[in-house]
């Protein structure tokens, strides 16, 4: 037959095939990770919950039935209604739909969680690398400051900070970020310290690699797994801490749809209007549960040595 029966191979396909060939071993590892991860029910539940809540973050404004209820509208004639077909989670004391507010609350919580964890990483990872690689007095100073911060329960310290700055969502984020970074310093410092004396780092140094190259090509790539695991866990914990500040009355202020603040107000309407506090609480529980299970699952595949822990 003529050559026409073979359709011409598109250049994209060729490029893809070449890329797959080049990254063959990496792809294999990835497939193994995916396989191991999908074998664990709890990891998959965690992933499912996190994806569900990310979906709510992105699609929230379009899927909720009463989007204006998150911005302080008032419908007193339908206040404190029990869950029904129109209002799945019932309504609150000004007649706002609690389902709407819980769903839109995911945005608030995820924003807080992402910002807090990002700032903590941006501050903590470089400091950890500096402390781990430099040694000497610089390391002492960084680690002692870290120790002091870690010697107070974070929630109490952030409570004190918000007490000075005044209540509000931005101050709560600032306070939480300020107490969150030391965890990353300690994690990265110990990792960098042990990597520093690895043969491959010595070898890189021997062939003349500079400090930046060693940090970016040898130290950081080996720190990714623990950072990913801790980041996932911390997303849940930061969301929980933000909700705690909201519950105390120092975080997001009403009518902002924040879960902790909703529980706090709903508390005044217990026990008769039980749905008010119940549903935001379930949302917090499922979010934190999701991130914890996901973090656990990631640890199992990325860091199998600590598997049983």
């Amino acid at each position: 037959m003529s050559a026409a029966s073979h359709p011409p191979v598109s250049p994209w396909r060729q490029a893809l095939a070449a890329w797959r060939l080049r990254h063959h071993s990496k792809l294999r590892t990835m497939r193994l990770y995916a396989f191991t991860f999908s074998r664990s029910l709890s990891s998959m539940i965690g992933l499912g919950l996190v994806l569900l809540f990310f979906f709510l973050v992105l699609a929230g404004p379009w899927i909720v039935p009463y989007p204006e209820d998150a911005t302080g509208s008032v419908n007193l004639d339908i206040k404190l209604q029990p869950p029904s077909a129109e209002h799945w989670f019932g309504t609150d004391e000004v007649g706002n739909d609690i389902y709407t507010r819980v769903v839109l609350g995911t945005q608030v919580s995820f924003q807080i969680g992402l910002i807090v964890v990002s700032i903590a990483m941006i501050l903590g990872i470089p400091l950890g690398i500096i402390a781990g690689l430099s040694g000497g007095w610089l390391r002492e100073v960084i680690m002692r400051v870290t120790d002091v911060f870690l010697s107070v329960p974070g929630l109490v310290l952030s409570l004190a900070i918000v007490a000075v700055l005044g209540p509000g969502i931005l101050n709560a984020i600032f306070a939480l970020a300020l107490v969150w970074w030391p965890g990353y310093v300690r994690l990265i410092e110990s990792k960098a310290l042990s990597l520093k004396s690895e043969p491959f780092v010595d070898a890189a140094r021997a062939v003349g690699a500079g400090m930046p190259r060693i940090i970016f090509f040898h130290i950081l790539p080996n720190c990714v797994s623990p950072i990913v695991v801790k980041g996932s866990m911390d997303m849940g914990l930061a969301i929980l801490a933000a909700a705690s500040l909201g519950f105390i009355g120092l975080g997001a202020q009403p009518p902002h749809p924040e879960w902790g603040a909703m529980i706090s107000i709903g508390r005044n309407y217990l026990p008769d209007f039980w749905w008010y506090s119940t549903f935001p609480g379930i949302a917090i529980y499922l979010t934190v549960l999701g991130f914890n299970l996901l973090g656990d699952g990631l640890r199992d595949i990325l860091d199998p040595k600590t598997r049983s822990r």
Binding site: S42, R144, V145, D147, V148, F149, S151, V152, P153, G154, L155, V156, L157, L159, A160, I161, V162, A163, V164, L165, G166, P167, G236, L240, A243, S244, F247, I248, G249, L250, G260, I263, R267, L270, P271, W274, S277, T278, G281, I284, Y285, L286, V288, L289, N292, L293, D296, S308, R309
Partner: protein, 336 residues
Amino acid sequence: MALFVIKRVALLGLMLIGLILIMFTISHVAPGDPAGVAAGPDATAEMIEVIRKEYGLDKPLPMQFWIYLGDVFQGDLGRSIRTTHDVTDDLLRYFPATFELVGVAMLIAIFFGVPLGMLAAVFRDKGADHAIRFVSVSSVALPMFWLGLLLQLFVSLKLGWLPLGGQIGLMTERPEPITHLLLVDSLLRGQFETFREAFAHVILPAIALSAPALAAIIRVNRAEMIEVLHQDFIVTARAHGISSFRIVAIYALRNAMIPTLAMIGLRFGWMLGGTVLVEGVFDWPGVGLYAVQSAVNSDFQPVMGATLLIGFSFMLANFAIDIAYGWLDPRLREAG
């Protein structure tokens, strides 16, 4: 060993000074005027000026820190603006209640956490292990304050089994103080009815407060037990025909307990932090409720005092773990 202890004591002192420095920085360098914060929202300019003088805020910052440090080490934590009470007196009055709550919560966490961790290790990857993991992951993810509300809703209001809040009924006479711990004092004075009442009040807040520690203890104990159960001496014990129960509950547990004890010490400090959430829900008259009420009213001296107290207790707990570890493991002593 003596050198090791001295080093640790010096470190403890340095950490405490560091903590005081952080608190000082937060209150003095943070944007906003500490005198304005102290005077409250409706203070006039003269009032703020008077307070500035009274607190020594017109002096240079290092000088102020030096004075503050001296005050703290002499036990002077300033005065509350809201109540004009001495913060140290307030904290001394509220701390026993918090200590009692944390103590009971810790006992609950240990009482359930250690056996559950053990069971999970023995039945590793079986149904019981998965069920226990569900319990432990859930008790981290449940917001403590919400768990407290649920307990109030079901156990107190619906079932009517336990009181809704407070440390003891309003009408009940408190026993003459000996240790200032209500549960202990009522027992020592032989007032068993009071003890029963106080005990009924502490159960729900203690359960709510114990949840994260319970999870941590289960996890550590499970991991350690799994490790220990694979060691040679366990195999030997099995070969000798010693009963499984005895091997697990005595020989293995004893070896797994050291890291578990360290976790318990660490969790003690975190629990003190958790009281700011739980005490408010249950109207428990302790340091946590005091700190929150002060924080909400921008009454800063009590918040600083409570933070220092909780931080220092946390440091002391860690110090105790360090010393215990050094005593148990000579290698750590040499590492310093």
